[in-house]
Subunit: 210 residues, 4 copies
DNA sequence: AATGAATGAGTATTCATTCAT
DNA sequence: AATGAATGAATACTCATTCAT
């Protein structure tokens, strides 16, 4: 057990160092700017060695995505476990999002990538549904948290709204920053969106508009 | 006058056909997937001819962006000109967004592109501030529309929230579609987010949370 | 005769304006940097019109060469006609070279171009021998001038040496200038080489070294 | 030590084979005619592999230049070390030039390239001054050799004249060859120019002509 | 296990030239 | 006569990936 296990652990450690490098590159240079060469340089391995640990460049990048999903899942599970009263849950969700964006900004970044049509073309159907499943689970977790917070039956849509607003505002902020335009402070923005949605979520729709 | 004018119009038409091709490609294959070759094939011109009408690939793509901004500006100006009562304005904004996404989906798509760090690196400082200016004008238009709809002084942030939620939900929807996961119907989603935000916008923040 | 002649003259004038533009471009941007586009812009004609007056880009550039050859021929003929005593002829040659380089620097420049192997590949055999003939005539003129100046039978080689040293020093000077290195003043250089060659030319070879 | 050293040597050998190919191409097709594709074909590597060994096409071509400069430096140093009497030194310089043109004809060829205005535009200021420095050193070496051979204080200009005449005659010869015109035998030409210059160098200028 | 070497398939852009009007 | 439109063939350089050692 000794040697084999150690090897396994070393291998895992090396995989992680590749992922760390990839994470940094994705944030610094964006998705297409992240070349295998730049990852290799960053983690001080040769380009060829990367392919020892990952089949594809895509596998590296998707691993990053799954990490983000898992990280989010864990945080949401903690909220569920905390069993808080409805009025505190939304605040916790916000704080969680805040944490995610600080610890795994690349995860949020990657959502934008997956939205692009040709981005998912090379991904196998199985992996696709794996992502869909894992990500869907998180939305279900969020819906669970929102039970009692929003009108019954609206949990799913509320979950989408919350995450959608979150990544949309992030995109807007990044765009402004890239263009050299001024942007509102993040906390203010996010705080306000949650308050607004909260008010709406509590009220519920006055009438069906479709 | 006759000949010259007709030529001018023909040239403009040809430019438009290039832009149409580019628009389609951006939607089909995303930003980086849109090669000059693919644009050329699509509009049945040679690659070299593209450079007869546009200096750069960037000039093509940025033209698309400016078109979208101008299209949006026009729609928002109409809302302002309509001089509606506060309770109807938010609905008009929603309908406007709905129109934009139907007529110029690539415009929304491109916002995601501009958020990526290395995306704007090749854009000159002047063009950048031109984009920032034109886009900023639209946010100011939106803020004008929201005057009276939201708590005084909250118009700017409300404008950001509205647009942020819009593009975020769009991203979420696209992602789900790419992954083969099911998504809520768009109208339902958008209707609900506006209702929720509307409720919050009217109430205003209970306290400053920062 | 009126109309046709005027037309002919206008055509010739336009040809000249193209050549003037080409001359300037060759000097400013070198041989390969001289594009048909840049010539067209310079003489305010469309690119296509250039091909009305010249079959090829090469024809334009070669016309420049022939101009230079003719200009040189004329100057050398004047020296011959002046019928000067041997001791003054070399000085006149030097002054002539000085004039050529001032009035037609591109001519000297082009000699470097013709030395490159693939440069003459596209030139037809007839044009090649035309150039060779015209240029050879000038060397014969120079040899005539050197009769009595140098040892009998050495006129041909002396002519080559004079011109060779002239274009070589010019190349050296240009190179230094391009590299930002300092160079001796031209007059000093050229004066000295002529003095040196003159001394040697008068002396004649002490022995055959081959 | 063994493996690493062998690898290093193999790499160097491969670099050399690229340089050899480039050298041949420069001579066959000239500077601009030397494409990365043609180099790659010549040394039977893929184009991409070229960029494994050299950053740029320029780096390849400049390596050729530096090789030529170094080769010349070495030969001149040997003359200096030989400590010959003045009357023999000029002959040695001539023989050296003869050797250079046989072993590194591309070096002489490249001097013509560097003289063209836009040729050096892409070269960084540092590399430029590196070239200027290394080349300048060779001229200083030559000047050292000419001490005692020419009038005191005239060594620098004499060095320029020697090299200038050398590359000028080479250009003239190449031009004639390209045009299919007959040229004098090289040895005769060069021998004569050295004799002539030698006579003048010994005599010195009768008066300052500027 | 780790890597240097090697590469096929791109990728935006340039250029001399042709042709219909 | 003059030109706007159009293009085939190049061109330097990039990138993810494979393979022998």
């Amino acid at each position: 057990m000794g040697i084999q296990e150690r090897r396994q652990r070393e291998k895992e450690a090396r995989r992680q160092s590749v992922l760390d490098a990839a994470r940094t590159m994705v944030l610094e240079r964006g998705f297409n700017g992240t070349t295998t060469k730049s990852i290799a340089e960053r983690c001080e391995l040769s380009e060829a060695t990367l392919f020892h640990y990952f089949r594809n460049k895509d596998e590296i990048l998707l691993s990053l995505l799954f990490e983000g999903i898992a990280y989010t899942a864990d945080l949401l599970d903690r909220i569920i476990a905390a069993d808080l009263p409805p009025e505190e849950r939304l605040i916790r969700v916000w704080k969680t999002y805040d944490l995610i964006i600080r610890e795994h900004p690349e995860y949020v970044h990657m959502f934008g990538y997956l939205a692009r049509p040709q981005a998912t073309m090379n991904i196998s159907a199985e992996v696709k549904s794996e992502i869909a499943g894992a990500s869907g689970d998180n939305f279900r977790r969020l819906a669970t948290i929102l039970k009692g917070v929003v009108t019954d039956g609206e949990e799913r849509i509320a979950a989408d709204l919350l995450w959608g607003a979150f990544i949309g505002l992030r995109t807007l902020r990044e765009t402004r920053q890239n263009l050299g335009a001024s942007a509102l402070p993040r906390a203010r923005e996010m705080g306000r969106v949650f308050e607004m949605l909260a008010a709406g979520l509590r009220t519920g729709p006055s009438e069906g508009r479709e």
